[in-house]
Symmetry: C2
Subunit: 477 residues, 2 copies
């Protein structure tokens, strides 16, 4: 007798075969119908128990969450909602699940409750669908880059450099925590620490990725990054995964083309490969939105939103144009924005980004050529001397999805910028070397993976799209 997965059995259309399956009971109805799931698909297979000839003791142990082993005949289903089912000939209980204490009951649980039981939440349809989608998206990302001649590069997690500048960092140490050794100046003597210097968790692999782009041509990272910021919002994690491609000889326009092509590819990939999960999540989102006032509901369903991104060109708008649009917008004139846009040079807030994307253009928007002084030191200064070749890609409902730039490839300009920002050259000698030896135009971007998973799944809290979220005051599991 052959062992199958639920996914394999549900796609069979020949009946009469004796099959075996192992999985967990989702529900058991009428002492007869087991809905069995093994994670291979969002769907359960119905297993029909001949209760008149089954030991009562066994029947009582068929509870939600129990692991069971079933042997039986695959038959055409009599009931609605499925085409095949198993007529159970033999049933073994592998692991019981006490219905009095098992947290995941066959009813609706709040996402807060499920976060507290994150080790069991993938036993629900919602979270198993989200995590399957997360996995498929990951694979799509690797496949896209691999198929397009990029090399995957593992940039370091522990970094001795604090010049990355993307945010607050966590310190990594193995010194005595209570009584660290001090040096002559009375400061903590990091020379005695594990790495012989102060080290932190990386906030970005970009600078290291640039070193590989300038030899291997096209590279990307996909790894964890960290922010020690006390942001307890539904969009921030202290530990999250980031994708950072970096390409030699590519300018900002090429960077936009790459980002757009990439986003479309990976979203198309999940549409093609995880249709059932998406349909489930689409329905879930519709149900959730029904509880909201009409004005707050999304105009498009989940799958419509994905198709909309795939089928439409991203609107490319310069920062300067965007400021004009915002300055003349209704919410600005009527002072509905919390931050009123008055002058060129203002940093855009999420309310402005959302206006542009959701109200004005109604499609993904690529903003580019930002004022130099609100962007990072490594971005390529434009000939106007005041803007840099930066781009942000804004998505409906999510806001900033991608941030990228053409990098400053001119040694003198880069040095001047670092000097102005008090970044010591010794810190980044190797980064400067790239501009000394065979420098060239190059560009790249960063994409927060969890933001992408949120967009693709319709989940609205970032804690619900990563297995074990790390946020201020929370490192459980």
């Amino acid at each position: 007798m052959k062992m199958y997965t639920v996914s394999q059995l549900l796609s069979k259309n020949q009946f009469g075969e004796d099959v075996e399956i192992k999985g967990w009971v989702r529900t058991f109805r009428a002492n007869r119908f087991i809905a069995l799931n093994d994670g291979s698909t969002i769907n359960n297979i119905q297993c029909v128990v001949d209760f008149e000839n089954t030991d009562e003791v066994i029947l009582k142990r068929i509870t939600t969450g129990a692991a069971i082993h079933i042997k039986g005949e695959l038959i055409e289903s009599q009931g609605k909602g499925q085409s095949v089912e198993i007529a159970v000939a033999h049933l073994d209980i592998l692991g019981d699940s006490d219905p009095e204490t098992f947290p995941i009951q066959p009813k609706k649980h709040s996402f807060e409750f499920l976060r507290e039981n994150a080790h069991l939440r993938t036993r629900t349809s919602t979270f198993s669908a989200v995590m399957r989608l997360r996995s498929t998206l990951s694979f799509a990302i690797h496949k896209y880059f691999n198929d397009n001649g990029f090399y995957y590069m593992h940039t370091p997690i522990i970094t001795g450099s604090d010049a990355e500048g993307a945010g607050e960092m966590f310190r990594v140490s193995s010194l005595d925590a209570k009584n660290p050794p001090l040096n002559d100046e009375g400061k903590v003597d990091y020379k005695q620490d594990f790495f012989g210097k102060e080290t932190n968790l990386t906030v970005s692999g970009q600078l290291e990725a640039e070193t590989y782009a300038m030899s291997l041509g096209k590279v990307y990272t996909f790894g964890p990054t960290f922010r020690a910021e006390n942001s307890n919002t539904s969009r921030h994690l202290s530990e999250f995964w980031m994708i950072e491609p970096e390409v030699a000889f590519m300018d900002l326009a090429g960077n936009m083309d790459l980002a757009e092509d990439f986003m479309k590819y990976v979203l198309k990939y999940v549409l093609d490969h995880n249709r059932e999960d998406l349909e489930f999540l689409e329905k879930r989102l519709l149900d959730e939105e029904k509880t909201k006032p009409q004005a707050e509901r999304s105009e498009m369903s989940l799958i419509e939103k994905l198709n909309f991104v795939i089928d439409n060109n991203f609107k490319r708008v310069s920062y300067t144009e965007a400021i004009d649009i915002l300055r003349n917008s209704k919410p600005n004139k009527k002072k509905k924005f919390n931050y009123i846009i008055e002058d060129w040079g203002a940093d855009l807030q999420s309310e402005h980004e959302r206006f542009l994307v959701e109200k004005h253009f109604k499609c993904p928007v690529i903003l580019f050529d930002y004022p130099a002084n609100i962007k990072a030191f490594y971005m390529r200064l434009n000939e106007d001397g005041k803007t840099v070749r930066a781009m942000d890609i804004l998505f409906p409902g999510i806001g900033e999805m991608v941030g990228g730039s053409q990098r400053e490839e001119r040694l003198d300009v880069l040095k001047e910028k670092m000097k102005a920002l008090d970044i010591p050259e010794e810190e980044l000698w190797w980064y400067l070397d790239l501009r000394k030896y065979g420098t060239a135009v190059h560009s790249g971007f960063g994409l927060g993976f969890e933001r992408l998973v949120m967009f693709a799944t319709g989940m609205t809290n970032i804690r619900d799209v990563i297995p074990y979220p790390r946020t201020p005051q929370n490192a459980e599991f």
Copy 2:
């Protein structure tokens, strides 16, 4: 005119097309022949300069390491060693490279020197080949698992649990390093730290992976792990990448089958996809070995070794059998081992593992059913009450490549084991929950990615197979 990569041009067999290419100069001979590389392949394309009609100033700037942009006609090569070359019509210097100071000269550099210049070492053939292979291996790993129904899972990097037990951990903190707050007991008050408790960098994602296996069925991790151990050897890193599959309803025999099939697949994949890189590294290794005494040289070339693993069954040997073999072995009887094997229960040292693999069996060996007291708490106790369903896979030249086990699925046995080892149940309440609610046989293994890259590339120092190695006293770049 179309822009190409070196790889694309070298595989063309139609001549006469006007082409464009950008890359870095590897060498410039006789004021005429540029060997140009762009990272897309280990091979350079020869670009022939019409030096009589080229500005002297430009000719002088064609130096090793310079970035250049070439336009010209693709023609059949007159010289040996390549089939195509470019007759240069136009040449632009994008970025100069001062031949007096550029560290990567067209000569043999020591690997130590190149480690100090790790930001430039992928401009050598050896390191570009190694890193391309590393990338291909990564992709092969994702592809294997994806094609076989596994879900990729990102387990947390920052962990509040110190029960993983695989080694010393790095502390992650954002408390004041010099004057951390103390609690009433006079200890560091981690309640005031970022996560409200003491946190460390993970040493393994296994325990979390088990939670997902027990709902999604088949999962794997592929992420960074850390060891704060002062091991300054050619086989240890403080930060390295690990692959950890975990499968529900799979026993130890299935685990062995999976590991063997997986290893063969990924090695076959690089043989099929990175032949030229492998041939280069094979030649490099042969040259290196020529400097060694005959007895220390490998009997097989690099590609022969890979094929040997792919074509042969891994030998499966119980720990008990291995002890018998070792006890009766020549080096044991002649007291050549540093640790003489006398009794059952001895922990095997790398000298013993190497004897078994390299001298006795001469093929990869899977050792299984180890004494319980030398293995981790979560491994499934056998019916004999003294061995556990653990397995280690030993590779020639590398030693332990894979460590895995069937996991203890019985709540009472697991609790007893934790009690004996003083692991508090509160620490791992969620891990114990897996045994309370629908427990089942399950298994998995861990594979150190850099060990695999070493095996596949023939590199002998682990610092040379990861972009920016972290080791005691070293977190440069």
